[in-house]
């Protein structure tokens, strides 16, 4: 699941080869300059479409987007 979330993240932010360097502990918010508000929304939409989940608007929080690991856990919790 981490790899799939990472692939969506890499595609959305156009990270190209930097995608492979991301692991569970990699910080996202504040660490990736590409992750501005438009990118956050694009990423949420892409995750919804890719995994068939619906993100409630009160779930858009800084904790969710802190690291690749936290984002993956969030997607897993939506699929559970």
């Amino acid at each position: 699941m981490l790899n799939e979330v990472r692939a969506v993240l890499g595609d959305t932010l156009q990270l190209a080869r930097r995608t492979e360097q991301l692991h569970a502990d990699s910080a996202l918010l504040g660490a990736l300059p590409e992750l501005d508000s438009m990118a956050v929304v694009t990423l949420i939409t892409a995750l919804e479409e890719r995994f068939g989940i619906t993100v409630a608007d009160d779930e858009i929080s800084a904790d969710t987007f802190a690291t690749l690991g936290s984002l993956t856990s969030f997607v897993e919790s939506k699929l559970a």
Partner: protein, 277 residues
Amino acid sequence: MSGRVAQTQPRFFDGVAGRLFGIEFAPIGAAARATILIVPPFAEELNKSRRMLALAARALAALGYRVLTVDLYGTGDSEGDFADARWEIWIEDLRRLAATGASGTASPVSILALRAGSLLAADLIADGAGVERLALWQPVSSGAQFLTQFLRLKIAADMLGGNESGMAALREQLAAGKPQEVAGYMLAPELARALEGRTLSSEALRVPRRVAWFEIVARQEQALSVPGQRMTEKSRQDGASIASETLVGLPFWSTPEISTVPGLVASTARFFAEAAS
């Protein structure tokens, strides 16, 4: 293809609420056979898409079409502030442009609409505008869903700024008639309400002689989106002449860096070339 195949001319059009800035692309050395009106997407998606729309306009002018791109009232280089933009003004301006575009040529205008521009195009058609061919790029089927995605930009920006706000509060403010700034765009409650009430209907897609529905996918094996499948099937059942195609590429209307999908321009040109030949 080499050399110049189209001439471009910046123009101002008289709109109902103010002058509109546009660019006219015309074939060189021949009279245009028909006009294609480009109906732009919403807010920041337009800035991200300008390059793709210009590429398409040039390619279509090379086929012998006159192509009009226009910044809607309150957007881009047109007059007015975004806060004063209203759906009804946009529709009336587009209706006039479509009527002007049709004059002097044998056929009604054709339309290329991107994203939420598809909802405007559908409204225009429902309003009685005759449309020859309609090409839709990654059409937005639900205005309500699109508005939610747009409002999320503010939620996300607030999150990045360290203060978490709520969608419910944001909607309450709009419902109370208070304009809200979202991603640098002052959204009027009237415009939000109009957008929220729009859906792409199969009735509208039945009117043009031919419709092409294009979607961008990340990988070759991906099919048309679920709403896309639903809409095209329903429209076909209702008698529309509609074809769909997916193209691999980046979602250029939202990528952090300006990106293009040349295959989409080529497929769109093929769609309009059928009619031009």
